[in-house]
Amino acid sequence: MSDTTSVGDATTGGEAPITFYRLQACPYCERVARLLEAFELEYQSRFVEPLHSKRDVVKRVAGVRTVPVIVDNRTGVTMAESANIVEYLESTYGSGDLSSSETSAVAGGDD
């Protein structure tokens, strides 16, 4: 979906079951993105602003102003904090061994 030159073959993840609120270049968000890719999950990225004060949508959806946040429409789960999200994705979609090092990572520190 990284389309830089062609505008003709338009596809979209607008119907994707997982909505992923993220900040460009945020390592905690990239960590979640890697796992979504690894589990081949369809997701729609929504990029928010660096300033927490400009993240009303995240606050409304998840009750916090940090990202990453995912909303999984298949399970009805809305979740913040990358360590929690990693653990959720692993237990919901993982085989058990892919991200053992990820799940043991220290919680917190999200952007």
Partner: protein, 169 residues
């Protein structure tokens, strides 16, 4: 009016009324976030979609157009207005906030969408920078263009009252 000739861009090779509007996918910037969306996806929500191309964020031309549309209440009067401009999502996001613009705009810094619509304008004195001409396309829910207005001078703005008549606003 100026007592000299303004820059004549000439006619653009844009899709005509009755032809299909080129589809595209780009980040659509709202007042809260941006995400990849296709034009066809928005059009499929029904009604008439008006696609408004403007020069890059920061140019007075783009600012004048969006201020005019805001003040004329197009957001309320049209089924759907969507912008396209050759700026980054961050610039578009800041513009929406600072101008209280009740519009969503596609961010297309490489100006590929304007290319697809035959309305790119390579800027003299800004090497490598291209932006859309001011242009309006009315599109029905089958992606067919039903009316259009494309600038042929630089700068040029539409007669908004006439445009509203033609676009059924």
């Amino acid at each position: 009016m100026a007592d000299f000739d303004v820059v004549d861009l000439g006619p653009a090779a844009h899709p005509a009324v009755g032809e299909s509007a080129p589809d595209f996918i780009r980040p659509l910037v709202t007042d809260e976030f941006w995400e990849d969306r296709t034009l066809s996806e928005l059009v499929a929500e029904g009604g008439q979609t008006i696609v408004v191309f403007t020069p890059m964020i920061g140019s007075f031309v783009g600012t004048y157009v969006w201020e005019e549309l805001r003040d004329r209440d197009w957001a309320e009067r049209a089924d759907r207005i969507v912008g396209v401009t050759a700026s980054t999502p961050y610039a578009v996001s800041a513009f929406i906030t600072e101008n209280d613009a009740p519009f969503d705009l596609f961010a297309d810094p490489a100006n590929d969408v304007a290319d697809a619509y035959g309305i790119p304008h390579d800027l003299d004195g800004m090497a490598g920078v291209s932006e859309p001409r001011v242009a309006f396309f009315a599109i029905d829910d089958d992606m067919v263009i039903t009316a259009s207005w494309v600038a042929t001078d630089w700068p040029e703005f539409p007669e908004y009252d006439e445009l509203e008549d033609e676009f059924g606003l």
